[in-house]
Homo-oligomer: 69 residues x 2
């Protein structure tokens, strides 16, 4: 059963930012879907198994944004 996890990401201001975060998170093993609400800074990731928080944080950081907290 896929797992959905929700994260808050700061610094996204436009569709390009959404694309960058989506692309980086999509690269994590087992991730099947990434949905970003730009206005709220909420990112919902669907994955085959629970993701490591460190991996998610690293991916968001790689995209140029920050995971909260």
């Amino acid at each position: 059963v896929p797992v959905q996890s929700s994260y808050t990401v700061t610094g996204m201001t436009c569709g390009h930012c959404v694309s960058a975060v989506t692309a980086e998170l999509s690269r994590l093993p087992g991730v099947s879907d990434v949905q970003v609400d730009l206005a709220g800074g909420v990112v919902v990731v669907t994955s085959a198994a629970e993701l490591s928080g460190d991996d998610v944080r690293a991916a968001v950081d790689e995209a140029g944004y920050a995971l909260i907290p």
Copy 2:
């Protein structure tokens, strides 16, 4: 002698936006340099000859932003 023209562009919010506008304007014939001040929304284009305002407007529009006025 190269010509420098300054434009005001709205809607740019981040470095990705700057890159998109820079890329589109750089494609115009004769353009040798594009400098964007994100905070001020000011774009300075250096070109071999004076650019058509319509071409500049179309390039900015293609990038997803708007030239003012």
